[in-house]
């Protein structure tokens, strides 16, 4: 334990601080130290519980055919009993000890999965991996609330995402995992409460990260054989992340801005290829049949969410005209639908990416932010590299363009670094 580098007794004697002040200061440093050692315990406790839990699942996956059926069935319940015992103990004896709660709950999470797996194995219970995951997640969701365990909540989000991808991408035949939305909705009250109680904790940060990645992973599962709207919907999702990151300033917002911005740019670069628009050109949106497709509903929801977020940003005067990533979706939306019937739309997208790159560089320069500046340069470089794939510009011209771009990087970074010194 480190002591504050000031002599409290001396300050007290000289009358600089009162006795109460001295006690307060002592207590403050004491609790601060407890906090950091607690966090270390929490990390190790969780790591231990997760590793042991995973270990049990792996051992079980080995099939223990040498044991009798009864022995195996009893063994299936042993991890569960141990986990439930730990949970009961921590609830009764140390309801305020976070490390115990989190570790016991995470262990029980895995014990439930191991139990279901082992019983399925012993009794040859049929069913896909998706069905197995669904049962597992439904049985462990209440643990999150009763044990008030953030780690179990994160594991639950992982499990639910795994379930949705299994069902939507890998199962035969694949189905849209509609239940995913309900299951994510079921964990939202916990996340909202966590965010309001400990707004700057690492667990909140991880929840944002997991939710963002999970949505990105699962959105594509809501696509039937025709994939004409999927690019638009993904662009919408990234744009929503970006807007959300600007609207709400909390521990998650930096991640949402970074992830949303990067995702939108990557998609725009894909859309800048003429080949993509040729693929789109021969299709059409059937306005009579489309409403029965999940992609169409996602499109409507994404548009609605944009109207909502953009209005809020406007009312709060947070809408930045010089930040094109804020309105990239409303601009691409009509171009995309125009592209179903008209060739040449890729020209608009190329122009757009160029404008975004230039404006980002200018913004980085104005705000004296070297990261934004380089992001802008990367956008333009990506665009130039891609255009070289589908054009027949002579090598010498390409070479000169790259030299200019490289020089631009050096110049811009050098100028910013020397001006900040």
């Amino acid at each position: 334990m480190s002591k504050p580098n000031i002599n409290l007794e001396e300050l007290l004697k000289e009358g600089i601080i009162s006795k109460e002040n001295a006690d307060d200061i002592r207590q403050y440093y004491q609790s601060k130290n407890e906090g950091s050692s607690n966090r270390l315990f929490l990390v190790f406790g969780l790591l231990g519980a997760v590793l042991v839990g995973l270990g049990i699942i792996l051992i079980i996956a080995n099939n223990w055919d040498s044991f009798s059926k009864v022995t195996k069935t009893v063994l299936a319940f042993v991890p569960l009993v141990i986990g439930q015992g730990f949970c009961t103990y921590s609830l009764l004896k140390m309801p305020d000890n976070k490390t115990w709660r989190e570790a016991a709950s995470s262990f029980t999470f895995f014990a439930v999965g191991a139990g279901i797996a082992l019983i399925s194995q012993i009794y040859h219970i049929q069913g896909s991996t998706a069905e197995f995951l669904l049962t597992w997640m439904l049985l462990t969701l209440p643990l999150v609330y009763v044990m008030n365990s953030s780690m179990t909540s994160l594991l639950y989000i992982l499990g639910v995402s795994y379930y949705a991808t299994e069902l939507g991408y890998f199962d035969y035949p694949t189905k849209e995992p509609y239940l995913y939305w309900l299951m994510i909705l079921a964990i939202m009250p916990f996340i909202v409460r966590l965010q309001s109680r400990l707004p700057s904790s690492n667990f909140v940060r991880f929840h944002h990260l997991f939710l963002g990645l999970s949505l990105t992973l699962v959105l594509g599962a809501f696509t039937q054989s025709d994939t004409k709207l999927v690019f638009l919907n993904y662009l919408g999702l990234f744009s929503l992340f970006y807007l959300h990151g600007h609207l709400y300033r909390d521990v998650g917002s930096a991640f949402y801005r970074m992830f949303g911005g990067l995702g939108a740019i990557v998609l725009l670069v894909v859309l800048s290829f003429n080949d993509f628009w040729n693929f789109l050109l021969n299709r059409s949106v059937n306005w009579v049949e489309s409403p029965s497709e999940p992609e169409f509903w996602i499109l409507l929801i994404v548009i609605g969410a944009h109207i909502f977020l953009l209005t809020l940003l406007f009312l709060r005067k947070q809408l930045d005209v010089y930040n094109p990533l804020m309105y990239v979706y409303p601009v691409v939306l009509p171009i995309y639908f125009f592209g179903f019937a008209n060739p040449g739309m890729f020209i608009f997208i190329n122009f757009m990416v160029l404008v975004i790159g230039v404006l980002t560089i200018l913004r980085g320069n104005k705000e004296n932010n070297i990261r934004t500046l380089n992001f802008g340069l990367v956008i333009i470089t990506a665009l130039v590299i891609c255009r070289f794939f589908d054009s027949d510009i002579p090598f010498t011209v390409r070479g000169i363009l790259f030299l200019l771009l490289g020089g631009g990087f050096f110049y811009a970074n050098h100028r910013m670094l020397s001006s900040s010194r």
Partner: protein, 182 residues
């Protein structure tokens, strides 16, 4: 303290549900085996791995299509279908009839799904069972035995499946006359 009491009650409820769900899984299977009748389904085993539940052999069945009664009937992929079963002369199970509704209990039947309609208008059946868990060594041996058997082999390879009120429980898999569990 009051809050802890409530949490404990909720926790006990959760624990009971966790036990009950797993118990029900076991009960359902034992009930089918106790009250049901054994049927033999001729098979072709292969050997994949499930990340959670370990090695198993996939069972694909020889008796897997049935001609439509009326070519105008419409069955979508994944539709529920009830199959009337009977033992053939070789003791293997044959599908004698099918229906979109349950049969009465004096008829042996199985609830399955339509996999797809074949080009010549027959229904391909997806049985509600297709895996049998085995450790890796035995799974590989079963697969090897199956593929190494002679072409003229008279002994069929089959799954022993108990069936009760339309529900199934796989009890054993025999390859070349021997249980894969041995």
């Amino acid at each position: 303290m009051k809050k802890t009491g409530k949490a404990i009650i909720f926790f006990i409820l959760i624990a009971v549900v966790q036990w009950a769900v797993m118990g029900k899984m076991i009960y359902d299977q034992t009930d089918i085996r106790k009250s049901g009748k054994a049927f033999l389904f001729e098979i072709q085993p292969i050997d994949p791995v499930d990340p959670f539940r370990g090695n198993y052999i996939i069972l694909s069945f020889k008796e897997n299509t049935i001609a439509k009664k009326d070519t105008m009937e419409i069955w979508r992929n994944g539709d529920k279908i009830y199959l009337a079963l009977e033992k053939g002369e070789d003791n293997m199970t044959k599908i004698t009839e099918y229906s979109a509704t349950k049969y009465s209990n004096d008829q042996d039947y199985l609830q399955a799904k339509v996999d797809f309609t074949t080009l010549d208008g027959a229904l391909r059946i997806r049985y509600p069972f297709n895996r049998f868990y085995l450790d890796e060594e035995r799974a590989l041996r079963a697969e090897g035995n199956f593929f190494n058997r002679s072409d003229t082999s008279e002994t069929p390879s089959y799954a022993v499946v108990y069936i009760h009120k339309g529900n199934a429980s796989v009890a054993d898999v025999m390859v070349e006359g021997a249980s894969v569990l041995e």
